[in-house]
């Protein structure tokens, strides 16, 4: 390994350049988005030399349309969704992977199948279900359904790499079941929980149609819904839309930056086992 790293092979150089280029392509659109967010473009035929840059769009976003309230709503819903999803999915994954539940593989297949239905088609039935149980206009309607099959699937994949000896040892020591889960399993699958947190956060934060449909009160707007109010039908300030996109991207991005060490390296340390 060491020798391979020190030798500078032409393959290595080409590879480095290609991967760097790809990374550049990954962020270029976002840089472009950021640049545009400082403008008040009314047309997309951009002549950059004529464009003036200022912070007006950000001012508009922060001081209008219940910025604070909708931000708070989104943060509450997203945090609840993350905690809830981690807990529920970790429990289920543990049950599926480590417990001899009869018929569990069949049930797991059904879980997986629910991932295969596009959300466009379940939205109205979901709305009807929520109406039936009276959850419309509540935070619950927004975060409870987030704990879906994807999380169970993802954590279960990871749980396969958790050696049974830890559990058996704890059981021999007379450790009560709930302690095994909270004190042994949860710490062991922490990297997977971090990844799931990020995914849940991103999915919940970015969701638009469901929060729009599930809530009828202005005070329940989530951040994405409130931001979409900035799009008027007839007069588009593209800069403003880009600023809105930038602001709503900034928050998951900040989370990602602070957690990425745990996130990326965490997965590596634990090792994803099939």
């Amino acid at each position: 390994m060491e020798t391979a790293r020190k030798k500078i092979s032409p393959m290595g150089i080409i590879g480095t350049v290609l991967v760097s280029l790809f990374a550049l392509i990954c962020v270029a659109p976002l840089i472009y988005m950021l640049l545009m967010s400082f403008t008040q473009l009314r047309s997309l035929y951009i002549r950059w030399d004529e464009v003036t840059f200022n912070l007006r769009n950000y001012y508009t976003i922060i001081f209008k349309n219940d910025f604070g309230r909708s931000l708070l709503n989104s943060i509450i819903v997203t945090v609840l969704a993350c905690v809830w999803t981690d807990l529920v999915c970790a429990m289920a994954a543990y049950g599926f992977e480590k417990k001899p539940v009869p018929g569990k593989e069949k049930l797991f297949k059904i879980f997986l199948a629910t991932m295969m239905v596009p959300s466009q088609v379940t939205l109205i039935p979901l709305f009807l279900t929520m109406r039936k149980i009276g959850w419309l206009n509540s935070y619950a309607a927004l975060f409870v359904p987030m704990a879906g099959a994807f999380g169970v699937f993802m954590i279960r994949q990871f749980m396969k790499g958790v050696d049974d000896v830890y559990i058996e040892a704890a059981q021999i020591d007379g450790c009560p079941e709930y302690k095994i889960f909270f004190k042994i399993i949860l710490p062991l699958i922490q990297p997977a929980l971090v990844s799931l947190t990020i995914f849940t956060f991103v999915a919940c934060w970015n969701s638009f149609l469901w929060p729009l449909v599930a809530n009828t009160e202005n005070s329940m707007y989530t951040f994405t819904v409130a931001l979409s109010l900035l799009n008027s039908q007839h007069d588009t300030n593209y800069g403003l839309s880009m600023a809105a996109a930038t602001v709503s991207f900034a928050i998951p991005f900040a989370l990602y930056i602070t957690m990425q060490k745990q996130f990326i390296e965490g997965i590596a340390l634990g090792g994803v086992k099939g």
């Binding site: 035929y45 109406r131 509540s138 005070s219 008027s232």
Partner: protein, 428 residues
Amino acid sequence: MKKKIALFLSALMMFSLLAACGSTGASSSAAASGASTSGSSADATVLKVWVPPYAGGDAEYTDMDFWTDQFKEFEQENNCKVEVSIFPWTGYMQKITTGMNSGEGPDVVYIDTLYDLAAAGALEPLDSYFTQEEKDNYYYYDIGNVAGGQYVLPMMVGDASVLFCNMDILKEAGFDAPPANWDELIAYSKKIKEVRPDVYSFIQPWGNSSSKSSMMTSFLPYFWQAGGDFLDADGKPNLNSEAGKTTLNFLKSLQDEGIFDDTVVSVGDAPDLFRNGEAAMVMMGTGMAGSIDKAGINWDFSTLKGPDGQEGFWISGDSLAVAANSPHKELAVKALKYMTSAKVMDAFHEKLYAMTPLTKDGAYTENERFQKIYESEAEIANFHIWPGFENADSFYDILFKNIQSMYMGDLTPQQVIDNTMEEYNAAL
């Protein structure tokens, strides 16, 4: 011990479910307290009004400010509380559809596509609530008669589709006035293309990702100018008519004559091209005049005539309606009349979005060049809003995609008609 654990786990689950329910309770009580602290007496009727935003995203004055101010007087007069909700344009119809089914829906609601709602009986017929005198005061009352009844009152009427011309470019090509009819449009376009090959002579946005916005400027006006009735006697759309064939042949001829090139199916924003002086002639809504003035274009417009001298305009007819399940219909109609009164609409046109007046006592604040069409009975007779019929949006989407295919050389005009009708009927 086992039992304890089981208890613990079920307690945990119960707790999570309770937490979920708890937040429901919390939010509804918050809403209740919000209503009671609003100053009006506790037993005041609450009227819910749902509208989309009209102020520009970066305007100082928001829609919420506007309606809150305007409704103050109404609330006092009627001892009620008006709760206005502004919903984004994106997903607006989904919001309305689900909202009106939620049991917490609006009393007064702004709608842009009304057929499905009206046909399903979700809207209250309004005709009996209006006196003849009131009806006569509205310029466009009759436009709201769609789907076999007066289910709505048009509110945002205007933005009639007219042909805007860049007169500087037209003069360069030797024309002093905009083309008056289709033949002149083709002749002018060809001439302009020779003189100014660097600009689009005449362009239509067939690459718009919203099929409806292309339809309203690039298909429907021509269809009506060709003298067609979009709906047959049963209220079903019928393209397979003389007008349908004439229109599609005309659209195809624009490409055959070399006026459109291959990129026409990716041109998304024709108004942008016009504002930038990159297109000489574009059909678009009169509401664009303001931004075109701002861009410093020397423009004029034409109310284009079809082969038989017929005029035809697409016009926006977004309307207000009263929900059939509203518990306070009388009051809701009152609010609807209040919202469309000259006083409120004049303020709306001044502060939020300029449009032509709805009522004969309203002030005309739009570009005065258009006054002659908006206040002329003869022209108003040629105004058409979206034809209302079952499954309309899919129909437009299918037709739009088929016209794109025609421009890519995959379909003939007749095939566009046949494919569209076949596809549309399959979904019914």
